[in-house]
């Protein structure tokens, strides 16, 4: 009997090409996504490391250099604001806050969304119905009004801002995860696992969750910009982080006031925010294409 059409193998087991590796290869082929990823990493690094390297402080006012246009002197590469504080450092510090709130709020809302959606999708029936109706109700609530209420009543602590944003950002993920869980539940390999005798909780852990990660990764990159934007809106309305802490939203708010006389005060934070959001979106697109099972 002739052997199968495979080249002679080494004695050791050959590592397989997992679906993740396939996806990574596809992602790396997507130039826009790769460039965006690099940009994002650069921006994040700049925000973390930049303020330590630059000589100016983000809260040191300098009444001799108010509203200075961008110049190389004194490292005021982005200029100064109306109280003489260096805009570059403020942008980077503001970036720290925006990105950190973005990351934290995304983490909490994604976790909540996954748990909610997976349980609803797997249990099904009336519980699923009830859980999804709660999601619908959350969509119906005007988040801005409630956010304003909460911040006004409870104060403007950092963690409260994160909680407020979380409460209104988990629903998309819950819906998507529920849908995907429903479809996975009907797949034959789940039926095979039940036929083997694997108990439900282990089916969820071993079979459902790993196959969910793809769509979770994609929708996380959808949630992050939404969260950052929400934070910026709250800050713009004066409900975000407190002075002297700043974020991109706050900076944009400051910039709008002096838009005509000192446009750079608005331009730089706005540009940073936009670029970051664009990059996250491109990365998300890249992930979506990479993980698309039809392409297999």
């Amino acid at each position: 009997m002739k052997s199968a059409s495979l080249a002679p193998m080494l004695e050791k087991a050959v590592a397989g090409r997992s679906p993740w590796q396939d996806a990574r290869a596809r992602f790396l082929r997507n130039k826009a996504a790769v460039v965006s990823l690099i940009l994002l990493v650069l921006i994040t690094l700049a925000c973390i490391v930049g303020p330590w390297l630059l000589p100016n402080e983000f809260d040191s006012t300098d009444w001799n250099a108010t509203s200075v246009a961008p110049t190389l002197a004194n490292w005021h590469l982005f200029g100064t604001d109306d109280t003489g504080r260096d805009l570059l450092v403020r942008c980077l510090i503001g970036g720290r806050v925006s990105l950190m709130i973005g990351a934290l709020a995304t983490l909490t809302s994604v976790t909540l969304g996954i748990v909610w959606g997976a349980i609803a999708g797997f249990v099904g029936g009336r519980i699923d119905n009830a859980m999804m109706r709660i999601v619908d109700m959350m969509y119906a609530i005007p988040y801005l009004l409630i956010a304003i209420l909460m911040v006004t009543l409870l104060g403007r602590e950092f963690y409260l801002v994160v909680i407020t944003i979380t409460i209104f950002s988990w629903m998309d993920m819950a819906r998507v995860v529920r849908g995907q869980t429903l479809s996975i539940r009907l797949k034959e390999y789940v039926e095979a696992a039940r036929a083997i005798g694997v108990p439900t909780r282990r089916i969820i852990a071993r079979h459902v969750v790993p196959n969910l990660l793809g769509i979770v990764a994609i929708y996380t990159t959808v949630t992050v910009p939404a969260v950052i934007l929400t934070e910026s809106v709250l800050s713009f309305l004066g409900l975000g982080v407190q002075e002297p802490m700043t974020s991109w939203g706050v900076l944009i708010q400051d910039g709008v006031g002096v838009m005509e006389s000192s446009p750079w005060i608005l331009l730089f934070p706005a540009a940073l925010l936009s670029i970051t959001l664009y990059c996250i979106n491109f990365v998300g697109d890249g992930l979506r294409d990479a993980l698309d099972p039809k392409d297999r």
């Binding site: 080494l10 050959v14 679906p19 095979a192 039940r194 083997i196 005798g197 108990p199 297999r296």
Partner: protein, 327 residues
């Protein structure tokens, strides 16, 4: 090969409630009778072939035996113990002895697990004390037995062909050394040249491991090669249950006869000479099955009695039984 009966299914019924046609909330719900009174027995080491066309309920029957779909009525007696109303723990134990092989080879394997993990899963589940080393040894041995190369142990399902995926499925089913394997159309999705490989593999493994098989298929020719006895189903009921030779040489039920004559034979002389018994009409829906004998609407021998009486499965000799008033 011992003569002990290991599985006894008595009057199994699986009914589903479906919404009525006009979908109004107060309209009476209709019942889809997927399986409607199936009884049979299975001895150790025996192969029972189950054939039938769409809607006959053979797949549902296999799921109900394993309680993947709950049976609405009827008894399942496994190794002398009644399983109806059994607890989850008892079913868990049964599942260590009764395994399943599925129709779509690739879809029944988790795409994110390696072959080694897939095959090991039943062992992990049913032999919790076993250490990793031992599991690895057994997985490799099983892979060799089903004709898979050991070096493939870390590969993923999508890197294999259909036939190889089905071998993985077989390895997974057999690694816990079950007493019964239910094969749900295991070769329907495979090429002809691969079908023969897999059928032969199942037969040799059955002999070696003394397995009983329930082999579900719609291809009568394949069933003939692997079964000892054959059960013909139609619309949820058993039409004929006979020893293989009896069924293929002297079919007693008109449906079996029509089915056998409809299968195309790869011999032009035979094909052109034969007169196929063309059944009139289409297969009725299991939501609204015909009264009396469910086959009477298409039966060439039907008479008035047939729409009124439900024929019972009567023994017609030592090795054959049919559910027909005129068999």
């Amino acid at each position: 090969m011992s003569d002990a009966t290991i599985l006894s299914v008595r009057d199994m019924r699986v009914h589903f409630q479906v919404k009525s046609k006009n979908r109004l909330p107060w309209a009476p719900r209709r019942t889809l009778k997927a399986v409607d009174g199936v009884s049979f027995e299975l001895k150790a080491g025996e192969t029972l072939g189950v054939v039938g066309e769409s809607g006959c309920g053979k797949s549902t029957l296999s799921r109900a035996i394993l309680n993947l779909i709950p049976a609405t009525a009827g008894d399942i007696v496994w190794m002398g113990a009644t399983l109806s109303g059994a607890s989850a723990r008892e079913w868990h134990r049964v599942r260590g002895d009764v395994q399943m092989i599925f129709q779509d080879p690739l879809a029944s394997l988790d795409p994110r697990m390696t072959v080694g993990q897939i095959i090991a899963e039943p062992l992990v589940e049913h032999r919790p004390g076993m250490d990793k080393q031992e599991i690895d040894v057994r997985v490799r041995a099983m892979m060799a037995k089903v004709g898979l190369r050991e070096q493939m142990i870390n590969r993923y399902p999508h890197e294999f062909s259909g036939g190889q995926c089905q071998r993985i499925g077989i390895a997974r089913a057999l690694i816990v050394e079950p007493k019964l394997v239910i094969c749900d159309e295991p070769v329907s999705a495979l090429d002809v040249s691969i079908q023969a490989q897999i059928v032969n593999l199942l037969k040799s493994l059955q002999r070696e491991m003394k397995l009983a098989l329930i082999f579900i298929a719609h291809d009568l020719a394949v069933v003939r090669h692997i079964s000892d006895r054959v059960m013909v189903m139609y619309l949820g009921r058993v039409m004929e249950l006979a020893d293989k030779h009896a069924l293929y040489d002297t079919p007693r039920h008109p449906y079996t006869r029509a089915l056998l004559s409809a299968v195309p034979v790869p011999d032009p002389a035979v094909e052109r000479a034969k007169t196929v018994q063309i059944l009139s009409g289409d297969i009725p829906s299991p939501i609204d099955p015909p009264s009396g004998c469910v086959f009477h609407t298409r039966c060439p021998m039907a008479q008035a009695r047939c729409s009124q009486e439900v024929p019972a499965l009567r023994a017609l000799g030592a090795d054959s039984s049919a559910a027909c008033l005129f068999a």
